[in-house]
């Protein structure tokens, strides 16, 4: 373990930085996000993820936001364990009928002001599952959605870009 810790001290962080403004670089997204989030919420935005029927693909990529390369927390964005601690619900999936009530109750348990970001093509309009008897089809059919991040699944960079767009448009 000492070896890993020592390396952590001696080596440069893996976290990706691109200080030169570049519209596609994660670091630039992070810079703008940091500034806007600071204005609105004092640098902190708590996100509660809700899987409302996804295939787990979106969850894998949302998870990746926490790894050393993307390090979401440096932007003041962090995932929390309860909707009662959250500012934002990050919802995935075509909202199955069996999950509808759970999503509604999670939304109700989130204190105001609150925002909803729908992640993935399923959460946009039901995706490949849109004709199913078991799905409501699209998060917006159940709770008001402030932003859609498309993709099947959206990769972590797309997710970060979406989060920035969200913070920019947040009223």
């Amino acid at each position: 373990m000492q070896k890993f810790l020592l390396q952590g001290l001696l080596r440069r962080a893996l976290t990706e930085q691109a200080p030169i403004p570049n519209p596609t670089s994660i670091a630039e997204l992070g810079y703008t996000l940091g500034r806007t989030a600071r204005q609105k919420l004092g640098r902190s935005l708590s996100i509660r993820e809700v899987d409302a029927g996804s295939c787990n693909g979106c969850e894998l990529e949302i998870h990746a936001l926490n790894n050393a390369y993307y390090d979401l927390e440096r932007f003041g964005l962090r995932f929390v364990a309860s909707p009662r601690h959250a500012d934002v619900l990050l919802v995935t999936g075509p909202v199955t009928k069996n999950m509808r009530e759970a999503l509604e109750r999670t939304y109700a348990a989130t204190p105001d002001p609150k925002w909803v970001i729908a992640v993935g093509d399923c959460a946009f309009d039901g995706g490949v599952y849109c004709e199913s008897y078991a799905c409501v089809g699209g998060v917006a059919n159940v709770v008001p959605v402030d932003l859609h991040i498309r993709g099947c699944p959206p990769d972590p960079t797309t997710l970060l870009k979406g989060l920035i767009a969200f913070v920019d448009t947040m009223s």
Binding site: D51, G53, N56, N67, S82, R100, C152
Partner: protein
């Protein structure tokens, strides 16, 4: 593929399943199979329904040979297999929810996937409209003065899939865990019926996102079996390359997450780096981080460029360097061992009874791996060993994953070294003569995925059954957590890492 000669040679015939013929049995024959399952002479691979028949796939014990048997159900019911062989219980409950066929004298007649919210009963066969309500659900009792219940889910604290866990605990000790699933049921069976091959392939790739390669591979193999398509050798190697990349990416993710649930974040961070580099390489080779929709019936849709081969070798070399370090980090951290050793024990007998696949089975002495047992291309040409342990605890499930990472790295080297040149997808056409059936058993990272399908001659799926390995792993989690403390549940659950979406379908 030219089917013209076959059309002349053979008359239209009733569908037969390839590569394993489907045998029609009567009620006695069906019961004989159920009894042999209960005795342990055979293992249950799957049990599924159609509007007026039920099918069962079993594995013969002596030789790993797969058999599929069918029973007509004109009365809308069939002799319960679950009454004799408990692993069939949830599958029978699902058959009733979706197809309305009742398992006679089944010990558990509660619905499983149907929560009463679909607005319809048995949606896949003669649907009956109902007012959408919420069915009540009777959890199994656990009685005793000091017991209390802890309901968890469907929305969990982490970034994971939804499901409900009902704990009955005595102080900190779990007396009974009961799972309740179906929350992510998306109606895949019904969406598949009537879908074109292309649409069906897209659906299959989205049954369980972490196993998208394995599912697409299983579906493709079943279609290829049904239509007798010869996949070009290069395509089989590219498929194996994707499958092994998916396997190790998931294993690193799992090991990190297990350690994180024991509050050892360092391992989580390190494993996350390895996983991310694999996904990035996958995106650079095949254009998608999870390699979704890259396998199609007949072959693969993206070829591997020469410069990607070099990059893959560099990646493999780096992972080969990192793996022993991570193994040392895991093995030398005694406070971590304190949490994993002896936790969440699954006995050999249970793993065998449930024909439990993947690392859960292999950590409890059941050395089944479809890559070896079925031996689909290109695995018979490659040398590898599968992980195995008899310890049956969380620790063993981590070690089996480490062993299989090493095996997959060796496989990846062989695949890249020996990959033949040539086309990547077979030119094949639909026979347009009669209905075909095909089946496949493919080893995903989580265990063996079974697919059976019936295709119309015009390429439309009539019925497709997909059985996730989790069906036979979830019930064992209930056994594994018994007598452990509630706080160790996340650790046990992560060490299983069963799929909710693949199970709920």
């Amino acid at each position: 593929m030219n089917f013209a000669s076959k059309q002349i040679a053979a008359q239209p015939s009733p569908p037969t399943c390839l590569p394993w013929p489907r045998e029609i049995v009567d009620r006695d024959g069906w019961l004989a199979f159920a009894e042999s399952l209960a005795k342990g002479a055979r293992e249950l691979l799957s049990l599924w329904g159609e509007p007026s028949s039920v099918h069962m796939a079993v594995l013969e014990e002596r030789e790993p040979r797969l058999r599929i048997v069918s029973l007509e159900c004109p009365e809308g019911s069939f002799p319960s297999v679950g009454r004799l062989h408990p692993p069939a219980l949830r599958l029978e409950r699902a058959i009733r929810d979706l197809y309305g066929l009742r398992a006679e004298n089944a010990p558990d007649e509660r619905p499983w996937l149907d929560h009463g919210r679909w607005g319809v009963r048995h949606p896949c066969s003669d649907p009956e409209k109902i007012d959408s309500t919420k069915d009540s659900y009777a959890f199994l009792p656990a009685e005793g003065e000091p017991l209390h219940q802890i309901p968890v889910g469907p929305v969990h604290a982490g970034i994971i899939e939804p499901g409900h866990f009902r704990f009955s605990a005595n102080g900190e000790t779990v007396v009974r865990l009961e799972e309740r699933f179906g929350f992510v049921h998306k109606g895949v069976d019904q969406l598949m019926a009537g879908a074109s091959i292309e649409r069906a392939a897209r659906l299959v790739a989205r049954v369980s996102g972490d196993s998208t390669v394995a599912y697409s591979l299983a579906f493709a193999q079943a279609v290829e079996a049904a239509f007798d398509v010869n996949v070009p050798p290069r395509a089989t190697y590219l498929r194996a390359l994707m499958a092994e990349l998916e396997r190790i990416a998931n294993y690193f993710g799992d090991i990190g997450a297990i350690c994180n649930d024991a509050a050892f974040a360092l391992m989580h961070a390190q494993c996350g780096i390895v996983r991310e580099r694999i996904l990035r390489e996958a995106a650079s080779c095949f254009g998608h981080r999870l390699m979704m929709d890259r396998i199609a019936p007949g072959g693969v849709v993206v070829d591997l460029e020469r410069e990607n081969v070099t990059a893959l070798f560099t990646l493999i070399e780096w992972i080969e360097l990192m793996t022993p370090r991570l193994i040392a980090l895991f093995g030398d951290t005694t406070s971590l061992q304190d949490r994993t050793v002896g936790t969440g024990y699954v006995s050999e007998a249970l793993a065998k009874q449930y024909a439990c696949g993947g690392y859960v089975g292999r950590a409890s002495g059941r050395t089944f791996d479809a890559r070896k047992a079925i031996g689909y291309a290109p695995y018979p040409q490659l040398t590898f060993e599968i992980g195995c342990s008899k310890e049956g605890d969380v620790d063993a499930r981590v070690w089996v994953r480490f062993d299989e990472i090493k095996a997959s790295l060796r496989l990846l080297r062989q695949i890249l070294d020996e990959m033949p040149e040539g086309p990547i997808i077979a030119a094949w056409a639909l026979p347009e003569d009669w209905t075909r059936e095909g089946a496949a058993l493919v080893e995903g990272f989580r265990g063996d995925i079974f697919v059976w399908l019936r295709m119309r001659a015009d390429g439309v799926v009539q019925r497709c059954h997909l059985r996730d390995p989790s069906w036979f792993q979830w019930p064992l989690l209930e056994a594994a957590i018994k007598d452990n403390i509630v706080a160790d549940f996340p650790l046990c659950n992560k060490s299983f890492n069963c799929s909710y979406s693949g199970h709920d379908l």
